[in-house]
Symmetry: C2
């Protein structure tokens, strides 16, 4: 049944180019009810007028996304759900249902598997989410966790947050510090448990807090453009620029980088700018909307977002991300964060 | 971070007992909007009055669910979507969106991956389904395919098909022949390509036809109880009996077993009764509804269902499945089809 292989190797093509090819292939089917398809944090479907359903899905593979000697099963369940909730948060949607499928070796303990579901349930409950399905199957070569989260959008007339809605003049905001999770991974890789601040770093890596309330508030305040930070600021901000046809200037001195990272790692800038797994929300908004967001976050008891730069018109060279140092000097950066397949 | 392991090994507990434990754990969260949760073919969610959304998800693991030396990527894409469409068909729902996530080694060809999406798209188009998302990630230890399908229910006042609605007096029907896919797998395992009928067997294994139109018609005709055959008749019918609190009598001579299977395999009975992957619909209905179904199928140009037995009251020993031979002799059978983990 094996057909002759043609085409290039996936690892040479790279993750993003492959997704582009897939998008071109399946995106050619039009559907008036599919409002947002491949290419944003989640898909948006309008089954009935005035009702948007938002769906996102993610697969975690052992030894690629997690290592069982670095994490416990409870953290694994938390994180697997959290990364999907983060995608929903990036759309400004309200989580409703989750489906957690597990591929297991068989040598796991049933209590470990229940720990995974238990902590996923606990995280979900904070946002009114119910685990509606859970399949298990055999996966002899390593644990596989596939999570799907379904949400919807409160009826308030505000559109979903997308990656394509950034406009020149917008300020760029981020809901929390950068680089903590990447630092946490470094701590685990190098066994730096005595490093100052390492418990918080590991916690950020193992149990990211999805910014669901923040995402809902952003949308209600009139923000239009957002995504969640999973591939690092310089991995993700270019996606907003590309999809919106704009450029971005990031003020280096405004970046919320914890001192523990600056003091603990000589390459702290890379950790903060290119490290993945932060799961904070990145958004852009006109100054008056940004102000409104800060007030709303304070009223809700949430830490107001950090303002880290601004959106400008793209030049003739197309969408770019530039870093600005304290002296005002601009430096164009190569986009890039964590990518699968690419060397 | 590793916590002390407690509990029993998953492979000793077995797939179904583990799912029971998970269901007890996560099922304790009540939600008036979640109408059907873990335990049926798909979950049903009612986001707005009068609107049911049906969601199902499945993970396929290389060397557990498929072997790349036995299948081509197009068939893989077809089957990965088909098994999920079959779950939706078993609820009587209409497919709308699919999400196809891929874990890849990196040594695949991009054209192979596109073949997978292409044939999934082609199958989906037959039912008006759009592929709305597709993520790729690295999976060095083998290909992983996770598919989620979202559907909804035409507004016709008829309830969704469930496993718990079988009633004594119902006839048992099945939409197509039994054992073809299991025979196809046997052909592949043993290299029996010259066997009579082997192309059809392999086709049944590689490219099962989800009974989406049949499921919609069953529901419209007033059928209440159905599921899809993925673990073989004796793996699946006991689930309907258990959930409905009834017993079933299956007439051996009525089973639609292709002659090619009877003539080609001495254990044809096991292939037909306990072989998995058929993806035909199994349903029960009172005789007058069954008649209506046969007429509706004929009108729609579909093969009418085979009548294979009837539902009776469960005795004091609880729900059972009994086989009846041509002489009327009854034999109680051990439930069982394909199961993960269990030896």
């Amino acid at each position: 049944m094996r057909v002759a292989s043609s085409g290039r190797l996936v690892r040479e093509v790279g993750e993003f180019a492959l997704i582009d090819q897939i998008t071109r292939l399946v995106g050619s089917v039009a559907s008036s009810r599919l409002r947002i398809g491949i290419g944003d944090d989640a898909a948006a479907w309008r089954p009935r007028p005035g009702h948007d359903v938002v769906i996102t899905t993610d697969v975690l593979i052992e030894r690629v996304h997690f290592r069982l000697d670095w994490t416990d099963w409870g953290s694994l369940g938390h994180k697997a759900l959290a990364v999907n909730l983060s995608d929903l948060a990036a759309m400004g949607a309200r989580p409703r249902l989750a489906f957690v499928d597990l591929g297991l070796r068989g040598s796991e303990r049933d209590q470990e598997v229940l720990d995974l579901y238990r902590s996923a349930r606990k995280l979900g409950q904070r946002f009114g989410l119910v685990i509606a399905g859970g399949d298990t199957t055999r996966a002899p070569n390593g644990v596989v966790i596939a999570v799907t989260v379904v949400g919807d959008v409160p009826k308030d007339g505000r559109p979903l947050l997308t990656r394509s809605a950034a406009r020149p003049g917008d300020l760029i905001g981020v809901t929390g510090p950068l680089g903590l999770a990447a630092a946490g991974l470094r701590v685990l890789e190098r066994g730096l448990k005595t490093l100052d601040g390492s418990p918080a770093m590991q916690e950020a890596y193992h149990r990211p807090q999805p910014r669901v309330r923040e995402g809902l508030l952003l949308r209600r305040c009139g923000v239009r453009a957002a995504m969640d930070l999973s591939d690092g600021l310089l991995g993700d901000l270019p996606k907003i620029c590309e999809r919106s046809g704009v450029s971005a200037i990031v003020d280096l001195f405004r970046l919320p980088i914890p001192n523990a990272i600056k003091w603990g790692f000589s390459d702290w800038r890379d950790l903060a700018l290119r490290g993945g797994d932060d799961y904070e929300l990145l958004f852009t908004a006109p100054p008056h909307v940004f102000e409104r967001v800060c007030r709303a976050f304070r009223r809700a008891g949430l830490r107001p977002p950090f303002r880290i730069g601004q959106i400008v018109e793209a030049g003739t060279e197309g969408p770019q991300v530039k870093l600005r140092n304290v002296l005002g000097k601009l430096e164009v950066v190569e986009p890039g964060g964590y990518t699968h397949f690419k060397v």
